[in-house]
Amino acid sequence: MATVRTGVRATGAVLAVALGAMALAGCSSTGGKRAEDRARDAAAQGRAAVNTPEWTVAMVTHSGDGDSFWDIVQEGAKQAAVKDNIKFLYAYSDEGQQQAQLVQSYIDKKVDGLIVTLAKPDAMKAVVEKAVKAGIPVITVNSGTEESKAYGALTHIGQDETIAGEAVGDELDQRGKKKALCVIHEQGNVGHEARCAGAKKTFGGSLENLYVDGTSMPDVQASIEAKLQSDKSIDSVVTLGAPFADAAVKAKASAGSKAEIDTFDLNAKVAAALKAGTLGFAVDQQPYLQGYEAVDLLWLYRYNADVLGGGRPVLTGPQIITGAEAGALEKYTERGTR
């Protein structure tokens, strides 16, 4: 027994020493947390640029748990909130009923402004109208182009999914593609359906939808792989979210296909892949702008009763990004703002 115990103790001591030595000796002079901190210090120090009272703005989205896209939207919103001396609150739920309840909670809190997404417009209708009636200015972002005005929101900021899809169809035509695959990773998402339908409308070749389970990356990869193996004539694959482009690239490699992979949305990996040429193009809707502008416009409305858009949605996309532009965006994607 005793020998065992000393053995354990000795091992522990060795490990502790080794860890300490590694931490000291094994410093990386590139990248890592330190580089991130340096970059942040170099950026503008977070200070309000206005002297208006501290208003509270709450944002309620239909995001799921841990969604990188909504992280970027929040990043933009927070940046604008710091500048405009605004207290920014955020909540999300991917269930319509829950999302409506969250908005109700903020109405109870009597916030000074609300930012909501209308991915499930019917679930949100009553509660958004209630907020407007309670005198809280509402701005809709990302989804709800059709409904925003009818529900009484000041402005809608986002990308029209159909227009974005149409841009993809045109781009595919320009690249001389004949047979495309549109990968829908969230069954039941109206915006996704609209994107693929828009692409189908303007694309000269044939386009079919492939439904995959977006909550499981291996499943996404296997589904695309199987499709590419069974149909060799597919020459382009369009994914609807940045993380899925990577899975499609892997699927293409293992299926031995020649198809070009294109995607909606950006992230650091997509920017690097565009630059390297493994991806054809990306359609960006500039999520940072959606968060930033929403907060800023609410400040403008409170301060000066300004409303942007003239009753029409303010579009943040689609912006087609190819390898030529990707290099310049790479450092922005790395800091999580593109």
Binding site: L89, Y92, E186, V190
Partner: protein, 359 residues
């Protein structure tokens, strides 16, 4: 079991001693001890703690308007947590309960729309179909002798697929078409999705449905023969069968009870939002189970209460909305829920042990 079986006299020597020839079942137990023996005690203590916690940390939590919001959030979980608790007392699981709510709303909406019928027809058809799905769960379980975990997992996956597939096939999109302009919608809305204002607090009608369900379920459990059957089949199926409890019928009816509540919750979804998203409801079934377990239901069956499950749902509603009122990062919500589940279950186990030790 709720029937207490005090065997030793109380320490103060009150009541007849064991040698006094008195029947131990007729012993008067003190109020405190009776309370300690109740399955929901732990959850009530937990609810009080959560309430106090948010009352101190979130300034807008104590507003009257917030009270209505919290109760509404609790009721949408609670309507399902009550029958799920009965089912768990009966010793079974239902993993299909979450998507069944969505299915029930979809059936109603699409049936009315496609046949251009009065929406009440759709509501009625939806009730029948939902009950049939519940019965299917129960029949499969009792016929195949497979664990309910497996059976309802199968139902859950099939329903998830049916919700998406059929909706897309029938409506052409992944959400249903609006039925707000059809006959019967206003009256159905009143029944399933209206709200009344009491002293500035908006109370949704689901809170009323929830209260009725709690009362009915508690009455069934504590005052009817069927209630005894539920405890019996959950405690020990073979023993229950041996003394003549209709095990098969009891279990099928319990599943149909869950289906009935899923129908209420589903109609509420439909008539408050008028359009149903076919992909929703996944994951909710675990929340119902969490509410029932926090409320003192044993995962092995034979012990628990409807009131406990309702309190569990209330804890859920308070946490869910309290985090918003307290302005915390919502990413932490699930962490709190998990921690609360563990704490509540530990507290329940401790209280139960204490209650048994003092007998």
């Amino acid at each position: 079991m709720t029937a207490t079986a005090p065997s030793a006299p109380p320490a103060d020597g009150g009541g007849p001693g064991p040698l006094g020839g008195g029947d131990e079942r007729l012993l008067r137990t003190s109020l405190l001890r009776r309370l300690l023996g109740r399955p929901e005690l732990g959850s009530v203590a937990g609810a009080a703690a959560v309430f106090l916690f948010f009352a101190l940390t979130a300034d807008s939590f104590l507003r009257a308007a917030s009270f209505g919001t919290v109760l509404y959030a609790a009721s949408t979980i609670g309507i399902m947590a009550v029958p799920v608790a009965l089912l768990m007392i009966g010793g079974e699981f239902d993993l299909s309960a979450g998507v069944l709510v969505t299915s029930s709303a979809l059936i109603s909406s699409m049936f009315s729309f496609q046949l251009t019928a009065n929406v009440w027809v759709g509501v009625g058809v939806s009730l029948l179909v939902t009950l049939a799905i519940g019965a299917f769960n129960g029949v499969m379980l009792t016929r195949t002798k497979l664990p309910s975990f497996i059976i309802t997992l199968g139902t859950f996956l099939m329903l998830t697929g049916l919700n998406l597939g059929l909706t897309k096939q029938i409506s052409g999109t992944v959400s249903t078409k609006s039925i707000a302009d059809m006959e019967g919608f206003p009256s159905a809305s009143k029944v399933f999705a209206s709200q009344l204002t009491l002293g500035g607090v908006e109370l949704k009608v689901t809170i009323l449905w929830w209260a009725v369900l709690i009362a009915v379920a508690t009455w069934i459990l504590l005052r009817t023969r069927f209630g005894n059957w539920i405890f019996a089949v959950g405690g020990n199926t073979d023993a229950a069968r041996a003394v003549g409890v209709p095990v098969v019928r009891t279990k099928i009816l319990l599943y149909m009870g869950v289906a009935f509540s899923a129908w209420i919750a589903g109609q509420h979804l439909l008539f408050s939002f008028d359009v149903v998203q076919s992909g929703e409801g996944v994951g909710k079934e675990l929340i119902y189970i969490v509410a029932a377990v926090i409320g003192g239901c044993l995962i092995t069956g034979g012990y628990g209460s409807a009131i406990g499950a309702a309190v569990g749902a209330l804890i859920f509603g308070m946490t869910d909305k309290g985090i918003v009122y307290a302005e915390w990062n919502p990413n932490w919500f699930k962490f709190f829920l998990g921690a609360m589940l563990l704490l509540a279950t530990l507290l329940n186990a401790w209280v139960r042990r204490r209650a048994e030790a003092t007998r």
